[in-house]
Amino acid sequence: MTSNKKLWIFLKGLIAENPVLVLVLGTCPTLAQTGSVIAALSMGIAATAVLVCSNVVISALRKIIPDTVRIPCYIVVIAGFVTVVQLLMQAYLPDLYDMMGVYLALIVVNCIILGRAEMFARKNNIIDSALDGLGMGVGFLIALLAMAVIREVLGAGTFAGIEIPFMADYKIPILTMAPGGFLVFGILIAVVNKIGPKKGEEKRKNFSCEGCPSATLCGKVSCAENTELVVNVKEEEVEDNGN
């Protein structure tokens, strides 16, 4: 792979395949932790750390882990890393730990991490997986920050806890609450989808079936480019059953 390809693995996570705004994964922590910039920052960094580590480990073990138990194995690895992050935060950053509360532990079931393990890490080498993890993590962080800035500045009139003098009279409190969160989220998704690469063609070129949100509905036959992939997979299955 050329270095361009490697760069693209990292870059695609930022906008083109932003996990939150394009792949629509990990929406729970996105909505919960974007009430304040500091919370968003902590969540983004914690999730990125876990993502990179778990991607690396899962990629390293991809030849060893049998298909039948791959999900439990992935979860154990992810949960292990999340617990490590939890313990380290509790020991050395107790204030941040308190602020994140239960959402720190919920990173285990953050779809982004399991999703990337499934979609990417188990089929690619360690370096690529690490880059993908980093890209997705940073993309997650960017999305969180974008939302958090909007929600905190416009909703609470502060930025990272610092009062903004003229905002006090113009703040829109609903933005810090759930309905406002969904509103901002939806608008951001719309904006990114508008300015980002056209979804139609891109999807077929760069997506695998596992990465496509409509996979279960389409039965893997509607993406023309992927038909070949599907045929190959079906052939492999037939061979297996013959054994």
């Binding site: 882990i65 949960a79 020991a91 050395y92 059953n241």
Partner: protein, 623 residues
Amino acid sequence: MSEKLLKKENIKPIVVLSVICLVVAALLGGVNLLTADVIKAAEEQKVYDSLREVLDGTFAPAEIPEGAPESVTALYKVTDGDADVGHVVTLKVKGYAGDILMTVGVDADGKVTKAVITAQSETHGKAGMANYTDNYAGVSSDTVSDVELFTGATVSSTAIKGAVIDALNTVTGGSISSPDNGGEEALPKTDEEIKAVCEGMVEGDITLTDLAPDGAPDTLKRAYDAGDSGYFLYIVVPGQYVPVATEAVVHINNDGEIIKVNLLQWVVGHDVTSGDFADGFIGANKDTAGEVELVTGAIGTSGDFRDAVKAALVYFVEEYELGEALPKTDDEIKAIASEMAGKALILSDFAVSSAPETLKRVYSAGDDGYFLYIVVPGAYVPVATEAIVHLNTDCEVVTVNLLQWVVGHGVEPGDFADGFAGTNKDTVGDVELVTGATGTSGDFRDALEAAVITVADGDAAKERLLLKKIEALVPNAEGFDTVELAADAPASLKKLYKVVGYDGYVAYIITSTKYVDVETESIVYINSNGKVGNIQLLTWTVGHGVEPGDFASTLIGKDAEELGDVELVTSATVTAGNLRDAIVDAIGVIPVDHTPLIVGIAVLVLSLACTIAIIIIKRRKNR
């Protein structure tokens, strides 16, 4: 067939998964080792920081007084040099989504300095709750009930309010009731309206303190302490003959006599006015209130009301001991007690059953023992002999502080009071009397003896002593819950406690033999496997001075069956045998907990079944 089962495809997943789990577990163990101490230190630091946030000075841990609310987790006394700055209480209360940990500082005047939340997982933002606790700065026991709850977070703020009230109660020894979260009876008048009526009944201003009468008659809805002006009772009697209740505010003085009855609502079926009925109560006390003339034509309603007033008076006078003015107030007694101990004590009322007339007050001071306030009426002079007696936790006299001693002819008590030091309930009656005042000193000695016996033999004191010994038997326990014994429980099993925070039970066993008059008392810790974990013989007496030796230790680690084979004490086989049998009986009473075992077996069987099923299905697929 077994070959196929053990084929690589089937074994490999299990092995790989297990190995990954082990490796991750090891990694977590390592990180935990690294961070556990740091985390603990950080948590403690947070608590200490919160302590200093509410009150500044030198902190000294203090014992939580008995009867303090359950929510209190720790108590600290804060001083600045010699000055008493106040107390800090840490509490844990149940909030909406979990426990709320709080730290409340109370200054020496009984006012809250600050209340902070140290940990919470409530669903509403931290900022809101943190600001809410500011409302409690400066409140005292009188004003705390007025603090409003936090709209939209009623459960959380009720818990916080309850915590502050508990803190105030613990430090001041008061007993304000915690706020109710709804479910309270709707009264015809609100508290404010009632208080307004009370204030309207007297000239000048009065301060009313809410009282929370325990065990008050149903019709006595509210009671207020008006200091020197006496008390106000708010009585509501449901209408029997009409659907309207009779409502009144009764003003009594500090001697329990009625000053005025204000009938707020009086309705009878057929238009008979109360007339002079209310005034008929003036001057009545708990004994005479039942004789007030009823209203002709409304005997039922006025009779119900008269009964309610009488019941309220009887209850109130007994509960608050009206009409019985003691030479010293409770606060004065407590202050002198603290002086005697040489340090600030937290005293709580100690209940004793059938106390002698002369024993006016008993206070428990935790590890410092008990303080008794004794007043003996003067038989030879019209002045009472007054004393505060300090007993240690074993009910031995430490000091007798004679506050008042007057005899007819100027005889000083001299070393009389000191003569009691070190005596207990058996020896206190032998203390030398004062020559020339044998009557007065004799009366006092008798009163003191009766008092010490009451406290020492009282169930509460006995239980406390027993629990102290049990605590030493099971040091890892957090507490002990009394277990009710069934009617067919063995006679030797006097008390059974379930250990809290640890497993097992503690049995208090008394056995006797026909050979000696004294019983053998012992406490036995039995773990959840039905084995003797620890045992202590509290008393052991046999006719001819044979020591139990290592008998008790040979019982440890044995279950009911093995106990039957234990070697008994030579020459005391009956006593030892009775004890052993009693322990076996006690083990038989204790429920053995099989649930962990059952759950474990069920999980194992289930997973085995699933694995076999999966393998079978796979084989079918491959066929």
